[in-house]
């Protein structure tokens, strides 16, 4: 997905994990994924650079679809679709 497409996405759930360093955002994602249904979109806010690599790998393993990320000044928005 392009950055504009991602920005236009309506997330079903937004998880703010900016207050934690590795592995905080990953743990937050794991905890929150149970709250949404298959096909719904979750957005993770993270200020941890490593998370941008970790979440796609996590999605790969858990068979969720990683849609991409958008960087802002101080954090990233990561999007995924639940399997």
């Amino acid at each position: 997905m392009t950055t504009d497409e991602l920005k236009a996405l309506k997330s079903d759930l937004v998880i703010d994990a900016r207050g934690t360093a590795c592995p905080g955002p990953l743990l937050a994602a794991k905890k929150a994924i149970g709250e949404i249904e298959s096909g719904e979109i979750m957005e993770i806010l993270s200020a941890d650079e490593g998370t941008k690599h970790d979440i796609p790998r996590w999605c790969d393993k858990m068979e969720h679809e990683f849609l991409g990320f958008v960087d802002t000044d101080s954090y990233s928005r990561l999007f995924l679709k639940k399997a």
Partner: protein, 182 residues
């Protein structure tokens, strides 16, 4: 002819079952041998991260690693002189660990703890809480505890804690895909 094929299928199925049993699980086993703050942090980050990845985690705390599992508010009864000495010399719980490098008489360690807070890295005791929540299994080497003179009643309250020997570690390790010695 068809019964021969049936027999062969049966044989293959049996062998497949045997092979599947030998396949390592989606599981990691981590030995925590060291009692240093930095190494313990690495072990706990990997352990909690692995649970986020839906991987089973079996941790084995042995030798210097056992001291961080002591509860600072508990004490063991009926210790002999050597056990008491060890008890005083060794860190009482995860908050008392020191860095393996740049400790500088404790200055380095407290600087690192301040830095961790600033950079929003969870403290070791927070990580033990998360590990408990996520179902990380903790195994403690009974023999090490005996050597150091630690009693079961002075160890932390943890939902998934076992006192084991090397056999349990090996059995779990053989079933694990990833092995770490920290």
């Amino acid at each position: 002819m068809s019964s021969e094929i049936e027999n062969q299928v049966k044989l293959l199925e049996e062998q497949l079952k045997k092979l599947q049993k030998k396949q390592p699980k989606d599981q990691i086993s981590i030995i925590v041998f060291s009692g240093d703050l930095d190494k313990a942090l690495a072990a706990m980050i990997i352990a909690t991260g692995a649970r986020a990845m839906d991987t089973e985690v079996k941790m084995f705390f042995t030798f210097w690693g056992t001291a961080m599992l002591r509860d600072k508010n508990k004490s063991g009864k009926g210790k002999d002189f050597m056990s008491k000495m060890f008890g005083i010399m060794l860190p009482k719980g995860s908050t008392k660990l020191k860095l393996s490098n740049m400790n500088m008489a404790g200055m380095g360690t407290s600087m690192m703890k301040g830095l961790m807070k600033k950079k929003r890295v969870a403290s070791l005791s927070e990580m033990f809480g998360t590990a408990a929540e996520l179902g990380v299994e903790i195994n403690i080497c009974e023999m090490s505890m005996d050597l150091m003179g630690f009693k079961r009643e002075e160890m932390i309250d943890y939902p998934n804690l076992h006192y084991v020997g090397v056999g349990s570690y090996l059995a779990d390790a053989e079933e694990s895909r990833v092995q770490l010695f920290i």
